[in-house]
């Protein structure tokens, strides 16, 4: 069953600048994936418990105990840019 996908929107959401050729290539590939998902979705699932994780485990917790943090100098040494103890990044115009 054919599925339409707005591949340009997907690219925008992922902040990917794709050429028209690339958009066509990925559209075709994504459509195959979505068609497969549609097949799975069409299966009768009444009485089947939804799976939210492949492991059949729940409640993997840690105790509320403070552990050692990284050294700030070491952390900031990995950053493309810094200002004192801060990471420095290009300006942000919008709130999330």
């Amino acid at each position: 069953m054919p599925i339409d996908i707005d591949i340009a929107k997907v690219a925008r959401l992922a902040r990917l600048a794709l050429s028209d050729e690339e958009l066509d290539l990925y559209r075709a590939q994504c459509e195959v994936v979505l068609e497969h998902a549609a097949l799975v979705q069409a299966l009768p699932t009444e009485g089947v418990e939804p799976t939210s994780h492949p492991l059949r485990r729940t409640n993997a917790f840690r105790e509320d105990v403070v552990t050692e943090c990284l050294d700030t100098e070491e952390v900031l040494a990995q950053a493309p840019d810094r200002d004192g103890n801060y990471f420095r990044v290009p300006p942000i115009l919008e709130e999330p």
């Binding site: 993997a60 952390v75 942000i92 919008e94 709130e95």
Partner: protein, 480 residues
């Protein structure tokens, strides 16, 4: 046309766990930037989150405190967005299967009482803190942004109300009540000014009597309970004006500006947000069985609604009882004082009046002051015995709060002890009666209007230290 506001509130609460939601970095306000960070909260490749057990229990407490059901099965999801305050490029949150659902709280205002539905309470992680720098390092519309990830990963609860609120006053009462519940639960320090509790509102207007909703606007940046009310009052007027002009309200996010008392639209994206939620593959689901639920439920403290009822039964006014029930520190001192034999109403009025005003002025919390229940009871006993006037008692209260000593010591050192024994007062009364013989004659002939004047003269001549009741008694004796 008359419009009815429809308001729902989202509340974010930072928990006071020792460590973050998914890693062992400390939760701490005001640490030097980027000192409380590790591979997990910095989103370094290969690092894996593990859920903080205490944070889940705190979240359950909030849910139970808001009369929610605890979901037997709940799941973490990824909320994807491009914004540098989360180094992972997503926030771990809950989406379709939150931990707590379907609760309520009751609020009481001058407009009456109302039940406000709680849609859900879910767990997530807080973001890092960004500071926007402009040209020359100026904070403002920026040329660069500085990031501190100490806050990234701090356990954050989101409490979502139903759109049940119908006025700005109700919205504030709701915010106060939620804050009171969380405070009593002891799972957050609920400091609005430090951002450990934050309120956002969704508000729309509709013609009175209509059952459909109008276009809603999200209002952010309300940093105090007062600004919740002010921002919504402003927004109601603004939207009413738009609608009355025959125009349409634009669906957008608006920022409250405390200084000029207005809301303004934030720059919005051309495209609606699409967070592309999906189940977090790094975390297994949370299963809460009845045993765990009831264990947490049995550890819940008394909630504001229950305390309020007890205080009302002790004869307190609704507003006073409400304040003492939400401000748990005040409530404790109140109960200690009443337990020590003090009159409930007198003590409650001091606590919600002078004491609250003093704490606000000094920017202190009650435990930082020197006041306790025993001191309040002692003070109240002094007033009851006629040793202190009501006015002097307030003076003494200030001294006790600032650590000058017990009430008796403060009254002594500030020379406020009231004179009520006849032997000490009679000479002063006689002198006043002699100096004001006209008034005294009027009194004797039955004109009681001059009584106040005569008492005032005695108060003046004794420097305000005479007990007015004793003075009245002596004057009446003299008048025969």
């Amino acid at each position: 046309m008359k419009f009815e506001p429809v308001i729902g509130i989202e509340t974010h609460v930072e928990l006071t766990t020792a460590s973050k939601m998914f890693c062992g970095c400390p939760v701490e306000f005001g640490a030097p930037p980027n000192t409380n960070v590790c591979p997990v909260c910095l989103g370094l490749p290969g690092a894996l989150p593990v859920v903080n057990h205490t944070a889940v229990e705190y979240a359950m407490k909030i849910g139970l405190g808001l009369q929610c059901e605890i979901a037997p099965h709940s799941v973490f999801s990824r909320k994807n967005y491009f914004y540098p305050d989360m180094p992972k490029n997503y926030q771990i949150s809950q989406y379709d299967l939150p931990l707590c659902i379907d609760g309520y709280i009751d609020i009481e205002t001058d407009e009456g009482s109302a039940r406000v539905g709680i849609t859900r309470v879910h767990m997530e992680e807080d973001t890092g803190k960004s500071t926007h720098l402009g040209a020359g390092g100026r904070i403002g519309a920026g040329s660069q942004t500085l990031l501190d990830f100490n806050r990234a990963g701090v356990p954050l609860m989101e409490i979502v109300s139903e759109p049940d609120l119908r006025s700005a006053v109700q919205a504030r009462a709701y915010a106060e009540e939620v804050r009171g519940v969380v405070k009593r639960l002891g799972v957050s320090d609920v400091k609005l000014e430090e951002g450990s509790m934050r309120f956002d509102a969704n508000i729309s207007l509709r013609p009175e009597g209509a059952s459909t909703f109008g276009t809603k606007v999200e209002v952010k940046n309300m940093n105090s309970l007062r600004s919740v009310q002010r921002a919504l009052e402003y927004e109601i007027k603004r939207q009413a004006a738009v609608l009355e002009a025959g125009e349409e309200v634009v669906q957008e996010t608006r920022h409250w500006n405390e200084e000029d008392g207005t809301t303004a639209a934030m720059r919005s994206k051309e495209e609606a947000f699409d967070y592309r939620y999906f189940p977090e593959p790094d975390l297994v689901p949370i299963a809460v069985d009845e045993a765990w639920r009831s264990e947490v439920a049995s550890g819940l403290p008394e909630l504001p609604a229950q305390a309020r009822e007890r205080y009302r039964a002790q004869g307190l006014e609704p507003t006073t009882a409400g304040l003492l029930s939400r401000e748990v520190d005040l409530g404790r001192v109140f109960e200690d004082a009443v337990g020590a034999g003090a009159d409930a109403r007198t003590v409650a009025n001091w606590l919600t009046g002078e004491v609250t005003a003093w704490l606000r002025k000094e920017s202190l919390l009650l435990p930082d002051s020197h006041l306790d229940g025993a001191a309040l009871a002692e003070l109240e006993a002094m007033v009851g015995a006629g040793d202190l006037s009501a006015t002097a008692a307030k003076d003494v209260l200030g001294g006790v709060l600032s650590g000058e000593g017990r009430p008796a010591e403060v009254a002594e050192s500030r020379d406020l002890i009231q004179v009520s024994d006849s032997a000490s007062l009679e000479p002063a009364v006689d002198a006043v009666l002699a100096a004001n013989s006209d008034a005294f004659e009027k009194l004797k002939s039955g004109d009681h209007k001059v009584m106040g004047f005569l008492i005032g003269q005695v108060m003046r001549s004794t420097g305000g230290k005479a007990d007015p009741a004793a003075v009245t008694r002596i004057i009446n004796e003299r008048a025969g």
